[in-house]
Amino acid sequence: MNFKLSEAATQRRDIMRMAAEGLMRPIARQYDEEEHTDAWDFFNAMWEASKSNRDAASMTGEGNADKKEKSSGETKRKRRENTLMSAVQIEELAWGDAGLYLSIPNPGLGGAAVSAAGTPEQKARFLGSFHDGKPKWAAMAITEPHFGSDSKQVATTARRDGDEWVLNGTKIFCTSGHRALEKSEGFVVVWATLDKNKGRAAIKSFIVPAGTPGVIVTKCEDKLGIRASDTAQITFEDARVPADHILGSPEIVEKGTEGFRGVMATFDATRPIVAASGIGVARAALDFVKQALADEGVEIRYEAPQCEMTVLEHEIIWMESQLQASRLLTWRACNMMDRGDRNSREAAMSKAKAGKVCTLVTQKCVAIMGPLGFSRKLLLEKWMRDAKITDIYEGTQQINQMIIARDILGYSSSELN
């Protein structure tokens, strides 16, 4: 047992905190107010930094960072801490600004899909481009207007026509989709069905590069928070990609939903990362409030008796305990992934807990600071708006409760839904 960050993780954390303080905080308000604009100075700086740092992937939430190390084969099983290190770093970046953190040019979820399911040729071609040139983004397009979590409802179609796949449909909630397709030479991984009657087995994913004709970013969503991050709606109108842009086999294997399961399993990696980003936002708010109180000479008496404690002290202690609970649940889920253990339940737990806690903590911080909390002069109100997404994306609170419940009850999806 060990609750202390390794030296390596501590160093990475400190570097990220410097970036958060030096590069993100100063522009956080600007890119919130100026929604739909691009923080190019920041993007370029992060792109440069990641170029000189080959572990860029690990700081950007892909959750597949350990892949590299595994292939190197040098490090002992016990010594891996890549997922954990990602969580630690991302907490810092989100502490800087959650919207900007999500906007950092990198292969993101799209890259993760290629990395997990692509052929060596696909990896070399599509991920390789992220090592050089101008900032790039890759995105994942799953959700459609008529469904959220129930991804077997995919209605976007992929039809084979000679050497090409022809895509038709509309995707929403595609993080960095606009930047992937129109602000860089990136790509989007699109889920589409080969046959709507064949359910999950017919759902495949396709790499759609920037510049593909028939791919139109029809809208960038106006959002409550994380406004610096682009959330694209993308329409595919007879969009054609070469036959070898499919990820995995083009065959529809009845009952063979391994591919689908594989994608679901990536949630085990991404959920703790989302939890970590939420924790970063909530900690930003809590740190701010604690500093403000300290500046006013208000001391938090952790061991004060209930009957003497002020509401303020109680709220702070409550928030700290809930936040630390979320962090430990998150670190545990990362730990398990780094050890190669199955962590679906624990990943969902970290996400469910963090989603709820981050929402409440940031709300309480706004409330504590009174008129100052409500004002856009400070970042508190922004953190409240940013935090809420934690309880929504990568599976809502309810979806994660479902996953946990199924696991502890030993129920299948047909037994509990």
Binding site: G148, D222, P371
Partner: protein, 361 residues
């Protein structure tokens, strides 16, 4: 005898106000929020309903109808169900009218009330909050020093709604004895300095300002009554009712959405997790309303009401937070998008816990 329902007249007012809110206010709400402006046409229409004038006696040019606090909650809830920022703008005259009407003397009534019975809307304003994290009425630092026949006001206020437009602002300040008093300050009075317009989390459409009171001299005749606490309590009840309106809007929208949206083969609303969440929201909307009614009724009856106002205020402020947050959650990802009004209600609803009620706006 216990009788927990609106009378027929109140019921009628509720229906009028609610249908106006849904048909005229709500459709304007999103644009108003994005553009930081309450549309004048909606305010004019609201003025046309006579809600303010009703409460003013005929002697001062009003309609001399119902001025009860209970009816006040009905109006406040109804308009807020449309949009909180627009409701607060439309009801801003009450920030001046209510204190003068209920606690002012005849001279003050003669002087002030006719401003609010004209053909056209006239704004009112109140300056309560101060730009500090730990502001509350009891920690108020704005002072009103006696100086011969005058009071000299000094201090910094924030969240002063319509401070630039209102012919009258009621400034709350501590007198030489530490009693919080209410002082009528006319627009243009020397030392009443309106600062920059504020930018806030919610209520973006409502123009609020910081106001610096720098040796702002007002005649003693401008003090309304003695202790301002009763006025603030009346305002707090109206705000609790507004919180109910916001919460109800969010609940109703979530219900419609959940009945429409499918997930895993059934409607979202058919899932217990969502359905029971909606049930809990409905319970607390009703509970908050009942508490606000009770507090208002006690005010109208002239009964002791300090505790009940505090209970209603606290309950409503908590309830609107939870309910509007759940209102987003029911919509999932769509709740986070500004195509839907849920996030707007959540932002507006936060105001109720972030400063001393919303006594100032």
């Amino acid at each position: 005898m216990i009788d927990i329902q609106l009378d027929e007249e109140q019921q009628q007012i509720a229906e009028t106000v609610t249908s106006f809110a849904k048909q005229q206010i709500r459709v304007a709400a999103r644009e108003a929020d994005e553009n930081n402006t309450v549309p004048a046409s909606v305010i004019d229409q609201a003025w046309g309903l006579g809600l303010i004038q009703n409460a003013i006696p005929e002697a001062y040019g009003g309609y001399g109808a119902d001025a009860s606090a209970v009816t006040g909650t009905v109006i406040a809830e109804g308009l807020a169900e449309g949009d909180l920022a627009i409701a607060m703008h439309a009801l801003s005259p009450k920030l001046v009218v209510d204190p003068v009407l209920h606690l002012g003397n005849d001279e003050q009534k003669q002087r002030i009330l006719p401003t609010y019975t004209g053909e056209k809307f006239a704004a009112g304003s109140a300056a309560v909050s101060e730009p500090r994290w730990n502001f509350s009425v009891s920690t108020m630092t704005t002072t009103a020093k006696s100086d011969g026949g005058d009071y000299v006001l000094n201090g910094n206020k924030c969240l002063v709604a319509l401070a630039k437009d209102a012919p009258f602002t009621i400034v709350y300040a501590k007198d030489d004895n530490g009693v919080v008093g209410a002082f009528i300050v006319e627009q243009g009075t020397a030392g009443y300095n309106v600062g920059e317009r504020e930018a806030n989390l919610g209520l973006r459409a409502l123009a609020t300002y910081e106001v610096a009171l720098e040796d702002c001299k007002v005649p003693a005749a401008n003090r309304i009554g003695t202790d301002a606490q009763p006025m603030l309590r009346r305002a707090r009840v109206a705000q609790a009712a507004m919180a109910v309106g916001v919460a109800k809007a969010s609940l109703d929208y979530a219900i419609v959405y959940a009945k429409d949206r499918e997930v895993f083969g059934v409607k979202v609303a058919q899932k217990q997790a969502i359905a029971f969440m909606l049930a809990d929201m409905a319970i607390d909307v009703d509970a908050a309303r009942l508490l606000a009614w009770e507090a208002a009724w006690l005010i109208d009856e002239g009964e002791e009401h300090m505790r009940e106002v505090a209970l209603a205020d606290q309950f409503a402020a908590d309830a609107v937070m939870t309910i509007t947050d759940n209102g987003i959650q029911v919509l999932g990802g769509h709740g986070f998008i500004r195509d839907h009004p849920s996030e707007l209600w959540a932002r507006n609803g936060r105001g109720f816990v972030t400063f001393e009620g919303l006594a100032s706006v």
